[in-house]
Amino acid sequence: MSPSGNFPLLIVASFLIVAVFVLLAIFAAPLSPHNVADINLLARFRPPVFLGGTWDYPLGTDRLGRDMLSLILRGIQISLTIAAVGTICGAIFGTTLGLLSGWVGGLLDNLVGILVDFQATIPNLILILALVTIMPEANFVAFVIIMAMYGWDRYARLARAIALNAKNQPYVQAQQVIGASAFRIVTRSVLPNFMAVLLVTMSLSFPQTILLETTLSFLGIGIQPPDTSLGVLIGEGRGQLYNAPWVVLLPASVILLATISISMLGDWARDRVGVD
């Protein structure tokens, strides 16, 4: 990326875009010109302003005459929330398992190793589809838990390495000698060493979680209507690519903009911290 000081232009731009997305997600409801659920059959497939539409519907309307701007704002809110909660849950789950397996070792370490192997061997999407099949339909919480299943193995592997390494460090051994509890040592001395790696890994897997959610929702097996997400909008609009392309292309562009900017930030942070 362009070498202009510590903060290349592209990174600054990505950061600003991500900040705008976060604000849009938080203030989605007050920013929406219409109610998301408002159906207006007299105003179906109105084009966006830049394609000759009116300011009543700045980004046009879909096949039910719902306002695209309001739908996209709501979609940003839902997609980002699920990705954030899913990523955080996965990070907590994976880090805990990894630290435990590295610290305790023995049988537990072997068990976690086998689980990580399993997760790495079997294609993630298929595992997740199998879980979606048995989860109760249209259950938001179950869906988030499944999202958390994605990518936990990466945190487990990294955290395990850190814990293994820390066990042999003098500062940890010194604490063991003076009788500090294992919990205290791990949370106070080992975990802080892992924070940089953890944050970078999270910023790298966050866009992947967004992609997973939108892919599943696009296929009609993720978030269920009437609730919406960016993936649901694309899935619902795919039949209208010919007569009302904005219904699909607008949410699609929003996803691309979000995932590319977050990936740029994550990649930049990775180079900085030096995580593999």
Binding site: A130, L211, S263
Partner: protein
């Protein structure tokens, strides 16, 4: 312990874990008797069905029964079609492979040379552009790329058939959507593997001793990146197949992917399990074979294994031996 034994043990363990996972997801999906019969069937029939399929046995015994059924290639019935699930899935596999195989070949043919080229020009413009494209490629899901391609080439320009199989041009957009993303993954991986090898002192030595750059790359760098490249290719193949599933759905191809999505949406458990077991065991086998091939690719690992068999207690820590 023998190295081969250890690896086969690991593969079998993973397979067992996969079987346990499918068994419990199947068990969690509800009572098969109630799924098979309509609600108005009499209780005696249900009782007989339960008896016949061992549903009254303790759970561990049911698991053994399940394994026995799988050993006879009985994957259960697809209740949406009324045919054996395995048969339903195998019917669709050729279509999926006809998409996945060209996609992975194309990703490799584009991605690896690109990563190689970037690493050779590390820090220069070509390298930076490659990284940028690779990061973007990773951030774009194949289905979105497919939608944009469909819009541009089918609707706007009208050059390519938008969906289904018409003629060979129907392959262009689906294959392009998958391989663009995976070429980015391969490029990125090749680059970082190369950069790592090139920072090794032996490369410095080779260069200092006056060897031509091309020779250094061929003789010293390439053999060392081969191992990680083979590993990632085996691992990513499974992911390419699953993304082919999504792409099939987008372009309305009658492959195993479309079937899988329909089965998930329609809660056709036997079909989902059959797909999971087939892809899972293929991946386990692929990884096992990759492990076996390490010795062929890297003589150090071969020597290490030989030494390990002779005296497992006193070993130098091998470089690259996993």
């Amino acid at each position: 312990m023998n190295w081969l034994l250890l690896r086969s043990g690991r593969a079998i363990l993973t397979l067992l874990l996969l079987l346990t996972f499918t068994f419990f997801t199947l068990a969690a999906s509800g009572d098969p008797a109630l799924q098979k019969f309509s609600p108005d069937v009499d209780l005696a029939t249900i009782a007989a069905f339960r008896e016949k399929w061992g549903l009254n046995e303790p759970i561990w015994k049911q698991f053994l029964i399940y394994l026995e059924r799988l050993a006879h290639f009985d994957f259960g019935m697809s209740y949406r079609t009324g045919r054996p699930a395995l048969e339903v899935v195998l019917d669709r596999v050729p279509v999926t492979l006809s998409l996945a195989i060209p996609s992975i070949v194309l990703s490799i043919v584009i991605g690896i040379p690109l990563g190689f080229y970037a690493a050779m020009n590390k820090g220069r413009l070509a390298d930076r552009i490659t990284i940028l494209v690779a990061v973007m490629g990773l951030a774009i899901p194949p289905f979105l790329l497919g939608i944009f391609l469909m819009y541009v080439f089918s609707i706007w320009l009208g050059w390519l058939p938008p969906s289904g199989y018409v003629n060979w041009t129907s392959y262009i957009m689906p294959v392009a959507s998958i391989s663009a993303v995976y070429a980015a993954i391969f490029a990125r991986f090749t680059r970082s593997a190369m950069v790592e090898v090139m920072s090794h002192p032996m490369i410095e030595t080779a260069k200092a001793s006056g060897l031509a750059t091309g020779l250094v790359q061929r003789v010293h760098v390439l053999p060392n990146v081969l191992l990680p490249l083979v590993t990632i290719t085996a691992l990513e193949f499974g992911n390419v197949v699953t993304f082919a599933a999504v792409i099939e759905n987008l372009f309305s191809w009658p492959g195993a992917g479309t079937l899988l999505i329909e089965a998930v949406a329609g809660r056709d458990y036997a079909v989902v399990e059959a797909v999971l077991l087939l892809t899972g065991s293929t991946m386990i086998l692929a990884n096992f074979l990759t492990d076996l091939s390490y010795g062929l690719i890297d003589p150090r690992i071969r020597d290490y294994r030989r030494a390990y068999r002779r005296s497992p207690d006193q070993l130098p820590s091998p470089e690259g031996a996993a």
